[in-house]
């Protein structure tokens, strides 16, 4: 198990709402009327085939209705609204939280501009989420992506499983995002942090997942 070093990622943050440390990205008042994001160029087609990624998404406060990207793979550089646009391909995990009202988690595929979405709706915001994102290209014609949503860092308490049977082709991706604003001009904003992104690329399989759970249990 090894967490991504976010200090090696590219930070685009014109309003200084993001702070990057080794394993933690903190966002403060990151709003829906700005374009800010943190990403890594992993190389052309780096994210191919099957993968399992882990990331912790901690929300501490929300103003209005916020939308925030927690994880994404794409072949374009930009904020989350851009990845939703026509002609783009992307896999996205994002949240929409309305202060004190609801906290929604979304798994989305943008297949050349056609959006496919699976969602989980919970009550009361803010909520902390611990995600496991898995793509298995052997399930379905073009593979299937799963989002396992947990309430605990050890990932033993599952809230919901979302999935999308992927469309039109098996796709590879170059860029990974660890936080993205959703710039649709709205004034909603969120404060929190995304942390402990584990791409599980060094050791592979499920063992690192378990080791993380074991570490959490022993803490």
């Amino acid at each position: 198990m090894s967490f991504e070093d976010f200090t090696t990622y590219v930070e685009v943050d014109p309003n200084a709402h993001i702070s990057v440390a080794t394993n933690v990205i903190t966002f403060t008042g990151l709003a829906r009327n700005e374009s800010a994001y943190v990403y890594k160029d992993a190389g052309v087609d780096h994210f191919n085939g099957d993968f399992t990624h882990l990331i912790d998404a901690i929300y501490t406060s929300v103003t209005g209705t916020d939308v925030l990207g927690n994880w994404a793979l794409g072949n374009d550089i930009g904020e989350l609204f851009l990845l939703h646009s026509a002609g783009k391909n992307a896999l996205i995990v994002f949240r929409s939280e309305a202060s004190g009202v609801n906290a929604n988690d979304y798994l989305r595929e943008n297949d050349g501009g056609t959006l496919y979405t699976s969602s989980y709706v919970d009550t009361l915001s803010p909520q902390n989420r611990y995600y496991k994102i898995k793509r298995d290209e052997n399930v379905g014609t073009y593979g299937t992506i799963y989002l396992y949503i947990y309430s605990d860092a050890a990932r033993t308490n599952l809230l919901s499983t979302l999935s999308i049977a992927l469309h039109t082709s098996k796709k590879d991706y170059r860029y990974i995002y660890a936080v993205q604003s959703y710039n649709d001009g709205n004034a909603g904003a969120g404060t929190g942090r995304n942390e402990n992104l584990d791409l599980q690329e060094a050791a592979g399989t499920v063992i690192p997942v378990f080791m993380n759970q074991y570490r959490q249990r022993s803490a």
């Binding site: 209705t65 939308v67 929409s96 309305a98 009202v101 609801n102 298995d136 399930v139 379905g140 299937t144 799963y146 050890a154 990932r155 033993t156 308490n157 599952l158 809230l159 919901s160 499983t161 999935s163 999308i164 049977a165 959703y182 649709d184 499920v206 063992i207 997942v209 378990f210 759970q213 074991y214 249990r217």
Partner: protein, 94 residues
């Protein structure tokens, strides 16, 4: 693994509801096993084996059927749907 439907589940709607119930029960079983792991009632080997050889395989089978029937339902003309009147704004959805 594959989902075995009851003979009365003949439509995509009934198959979907059956699968979502399966998904709900699997989630509860997962969390029960997770609680046992966290409290030390089962070993790490047992927890890992459950995740790999039971939970993930069953989850895949269930969601394969959910996605298949959701696709069928999304194209079904069973309901005479009027998009302008069938949805009203309640909370923001993007």
């Amino acid at each position: 693994m594959k989902v075995v439907y009851p003979v009365t589940a003949t439509t995509e709607a009934s198959k979907l509801s059956f699968c979502y119930r399966l998904d709900g029960l699997l989630r509860l079983e997962h969390n029960d096993m997770g609680a046992k792991f966290m409290s030390g009632q089962i070993t790490e080997v047992e927890w890992l084996d459950y995740l790999k050889n039971t939970f993930e395989l069953q989850s895949q089978a269930i969601h394969f059927e959910i996605n298949k029937n959701r696709e069928i339902a999304s194209k079904s003309t069973y309901w005479a749907v009027n998009l302008k009147t069938a949805i009203v704004k309640e909370v923001e959805v993007i």
